[in-house]
Symmetry: C2
Amino acid sequence: MVETTPERRGGRQLPTAEELRIWRDFVETTEALTSRVGSRLQVDSSLSPGDYAVLLALSEAQDRRMRSSALAAQIGWERSRLSHHLGRMERRGLIRREECATVPRGAEVLLTPAGAEAFQRATYPHLRTIRELFVDALTPDQLRAAGDIARALREHLGSGADE
Amino acid sequence: MVETTPERRGGRQLPTAEELRIWRDFVETTEALTSRVGSRLQVDSSLSPGDYAVLLALSEAQDRRMRSSALAAQIGWERSRLSHHLGRMERRGLIRREECATVPRGAEVLLTPAGAEAFQRATYPHLRTIRELFVDALTPDQLRAAGDIARALREHLGSGADE
DNA sequence: CCTTCCCGGTTGACGTGTCAATGATGCTAA
DNA sequence: TTAGCATCATTGACACGTCAACCGGGAAGG
């Protein structure tokens, strides 16, 4: 393997062919992986990854209810996205929204029994899918490396110009 | 490298808390990364990642034209997705579709001058973004590991039950 | 010849995501 | 007091993806 130090590529602006190949491999593979995990979830549970994220956060919340903006922060979504998604989930009876008693203008989202039940049914097969398609695909070293890479990428992203 | 045989973890069905943490980190980070790369592309070039993939394939094609199904295979899209996307790109004047002379049933997609021009303008800043947000975030070892991980995941996916 | 099936491509319906604009409500400062 | 002003949430318009249905034209087999 070629040794490429930061120094060695000082003047260079563009990725090498090899770096580009890795980028494409990486992106395409992670997209294929998440799409496969998502479609398994859908088939097994009739829940989308978004549904699952919302239900997970609500399940872990005090009283199975949360302020909408707290929920958005928890799962890292924009409020608009969450609002649209909650509308769809409410139509399907997975959650309910009600005016918050304490804070005016604050909407509270709460898990319905049907939502809790759907989440319960989804969890076990979903975790098994993650194990099968992700954990089992990698050696322990690779798994550790994946964690390190994620951390490095995230830190680098966080320090960038446009957050 | 630790030897982890299927036997060693035979009884366990579900990922450990640590494995799950890595999974979530990994997925969330790669999603944040691709979304950031995509939004930079959009801002710099008014092209979506999908547009870019189509234009790239067409640019490299003989005569800057391709059969629609060949294009779909090249970039790994379903025919339906490509058809919808080509419709949007055609409306914007980036590509054109015409009946294929040789093969009766075949539609040909071809790059318009405006499409070629848009691709040209997009490429350099896009590659620089990949370098800045991906390549520069990782050490050479991590970059290599990212390639290995992608390969391992892809191979594992390919051998799975539902492709 | 006619039926049947497949194949390449399109379409419609619908779920999902983003952006920009809008309401509704408190906080602050003239 | 009231004129901004920020914040929380929703909405509408539109791009994007998937799924299932559909269409037109060979090829295959009776």
